[in-house]
């Protein structure tokens, strides 16, 4: 794994800093943060419901990995997928409308926070069954291989998911069949209230993944540039026929598991220490040092994003609900959707 250790190297080793690109990464993270903080407010105000899981603190993972993908690649995520969806380019309006359960939502309102889908972005969704996305990713990659398509399928999941049997079965299949899958394990050290030490007897997840014959390495998930570098390297290797890869993205959620969670199981100090490594602040620091942004520019970006999110909320609130008569639509395909029997 050593040749990969650059994956955890510090930002200033980044090659040819590109101001525009870094501003995009920054904006993506700022947008995710603002979107989710707005969701938290809306949830507290009971304007959105269900289970809502925020990725505040983990934005660098979403922004960095998506920057390495092309439009034909596929992405599978979890119930903690707002960040992945925004970074993948799903529209703010379609996502906010989905939080409100509106017809204009990315899943027509039927999914809600845990089930964001968008076929046009090959975003194969949130998934509220832990680890269930891994076999789907294997299948999407198999379909690409069987159809000789040069595509990569990226699958996000947490370190807790790695304890599920499907993790084992899916990694074995992907490695056995050398499928173009990038497994992105977001190791935020907790699975709800269960710490990684209580979840895994052997908690070096990159090492675990390597034991299946995948190329795997750990990445500083708080450093968006490091994440992007590793993702680019992995995706290139996969496209080059290098088989499935696995990134252990070391990160932390600053907020509770879900809006239900009183967060009793973590020491405040642990959270505070991680907050000092806020991925947004970190990139801002790097960009300031490189003269790529200043306070005014940052303030402008934040207010532009705030306005966009606020506008999305208004639009979502005004959007129509699916008529009740349509309740049983999409249980099976309708003429026109999918492929029909003659």
């Amino acid at each position: 794994m050593n040749e990969h250790s650059a994956g955890t190297s510090s930002p200033d080793q980044a090659t040819a800093p590109d101001t525009e690109h870094r501003r995009e990464l920054l904006r993506t993270m700022v947008l995710i943060r603002r979107f989710e903080e707005t969701c938290a407010e809306l949830y507290s105000a009971a304007r959105i419901r269900g289970f809502v899981h925020l990725c505040v603190g983990e934005e660098a993972v979403a922004a960095g990995v998506m920057a390495a993908l092309g439009p034909d690649d596929a992405v599978l995520s979890t119930y903690r997928e707002h960040g992945h969806a925004l970074a993948r380019g799903l529209t703010l309006n379609s996502l906010m409308a989905e939080m409100f359960g509106k017809q204009t939502g990315c899943s027509g309102g039927r999914g809600g926070s845990m089930h964001l889908f968008d076929k046009s972005h090959r975003f194969v969704g949130g998934n509220a069954i832990v680890a269930a996305g891994l076999p789907l990713a294997v299948g999407l990659a198999l379909a690409d291989k069987l159809q000789n398509r040069d595509r990569v399928t990226v699958c996000f999941f947490g370190e807790g998911a790695a304890a599920e049997g499907e993790f084992h079965e899916a990694l074995n299949l992907a490695a056995l069949w050398r499928l173009p899958v990038l497994f992105c394990c977001e190791n935020n050290l907790y699975a709800m209230g269960t710490s990684i030490a209580k979840e895994h007897a052997a908690s070096d997840l990159a090492l675990r993944a390597e034991s299946y014959g995948l190329s795997a390495w750990p990445v500083d998930g708080m450093d968006v540039l490091a994440v992007e570098r590793s993702a680019v390297r992995a995706v290139e290797a996969i496209r080059g026929g290098g088989g499935p890869h696995f990134l252990e993205l070391r990160t932390f959620r600053f907020r509770a598991h879900s809006m239900y969670d009183p967060d009793r199981y973590r020491e405040k100090v642990e959270i505070e220490q991680w907050k000092e490594r806020d991925p947004i602040d970190a990139l801002v620091k790097t960009m300031k040092a490189a003269g790529q942004i200043d306070d005014a520019g940052l303030a402008a970006m934040r207010s532009e994003v705030a306005d966009a999110v606020a506008a999305a909320v208004d639009t979502a609130e005004q959007a129509p609900f699916e008529p009740v008569e349509n309740l049983t639509r999409f249980v099976t395909s309708e003429a026109g959707t999918g492929e029909d029997r003659p």
């Binding site: 269900g50 039927r110 069954i129 998911a161 699975a191 209230g193 699916e322």
Partner: protein
């Protein structure tokens, strides 16, 4: 018996039952995801880790199949495990262990290995949790020989069913409807173990029998109020135990009222309501003045928005309507 009453909730009643069982029997322990440090995904076991420690309030990794299997193994090994599965949808990951092992072991071994295991899980919709956290599969589980299936719908049953289940030599699944955890009420200070064989009449009536269980008991009692307002006297039966079914109680009631509506939050086709209707057909056909009606969930993975979820689930108005239909059936 002591008749002082205490204010409590369904959640607290469940917790009190777990606590009592653990105090009374050293072999009892609670195992599942986040039952310890987190306090239980629905806070049922909150505080028990501090009282009983991590060996008996055992947090597990995300491995439904393995920790359910381990629960079975430890039951064979002399323990009395209470295994918690967060939500019924996740129990599908453990269904092999539940059906192919827990439910079959006693028979396959010619009576040598019984499995005194209790599995608790949350079931049901109504909280906008969408298609992977909201289903009602308890009636579906009731198809499996070798299991006892319980659906506590009241504080008494939340407090008492677990204690009796833990004395059962065979596997018992307890389905806790997610919308009941916050249900408030009063309970006898010395409430304890309850019968887990019989259905009970929750409201007496003479015109029509409403048969239900679990999360829809409240809705069905509301429907009975609506009917009373129209001068229709509805008897409400809480099945309580979904397997084995207590035919006597609901058949007896139908014999008196000559009409029945089965209310079941499961998807209609192949739900428990079908079995109830079929048993009425077999045992009381000639007592019927109208076809048995069924009010079930729409056959759709539950959608997120409230208006669609409400439309998908049994509501008091639709139950009352069905009951009215039985009062004036159009002869086929």
């Amino acid at each position: 018996m002591n008749d002082t009453l205490v204010e409590t909730t369904y959640r607290e009643a469940l917790r009190a039952a777990i606590r009592q069982a653990m105090l009374e029997d050293e072999r009892v322990y609670l195992m599942g995801e986040d039952v310890g440090d987190y306090g239980g995904c629905f806070a049922v076991s909150l505080g028990l880790l501090e009282e009983f420690g991590p060996e008996r309030i055992r947090d597990t990794p995300l491995s439904e199949s393995a920790f359910v299997g381990a629960g079975i193994g430890s039951a064979i090994g002399g323990m009395r495990p209470i295994v918690e599965i967060m939500t019924v949808n996740f129990s599908l990951l453990a269904l092999d262990q539940i059906m192919n092992t827990a439910a079959s072991l006693l028979h396959m071994s010619g009576g040598q290995f019984n499995v005194p295991l209790v599995i608790r899980m949350t079931t049901g919709g109504g909280r906008q949790l969408a298609a992977q956290h909201s289903h009602s599969l308890e009636g579906w589980y009731a198809h499996i020989p070798g299991l006892r299936i319980l659906a506590p719908a009241t504080l008494e049953d939340a407090r008492g069913m677990l204690l009796t289940a833990l004395k059962d030599p065979d596997p018992v699944l307890i389905f806790e409807h997610g919308s009941l955890y916050n249900m408030k009420g009063v309970l006898a200070a010395d409430a304890g173990a309850v019968d887990i064989d019989r259905a009970v009449v929750r409201r007496e009536g003479t015109d029509v029998t409403l048969i239900t269980y679990g999360g829809t008991l409240g809705t069905t009692l509301e429907a009975a109020d609506l009917l009373a307002a129209d001068g229709i006297s509805a008897e409400v039966i809480d099945l309580r135990t979904l397997r084995p079914l207590d035919d006597e109680t609901f058949i007896g009631s139908v014999r008196r009222t000559h009409r029945a509506v089965v209310v079941d939050e499961g998807w209609r086709s192949g739900s428990l309501s079908a079995e109830i209707s079929a048993r009425i057909m077999e045992q009381a056909l000639y007592d019927l003045d109208a076809p048995v009606e069924r009010v079930c969930s729409a056959e759709v993975p539950l959608p997120y928005p409230k208006h669609l979820e409400d439309a998908a689930l049994p509501q008091s108005a639709t139950i009352a309507e069905a009951a009215r239909r039985t009062m004036s059936p159009e002869q086929g």
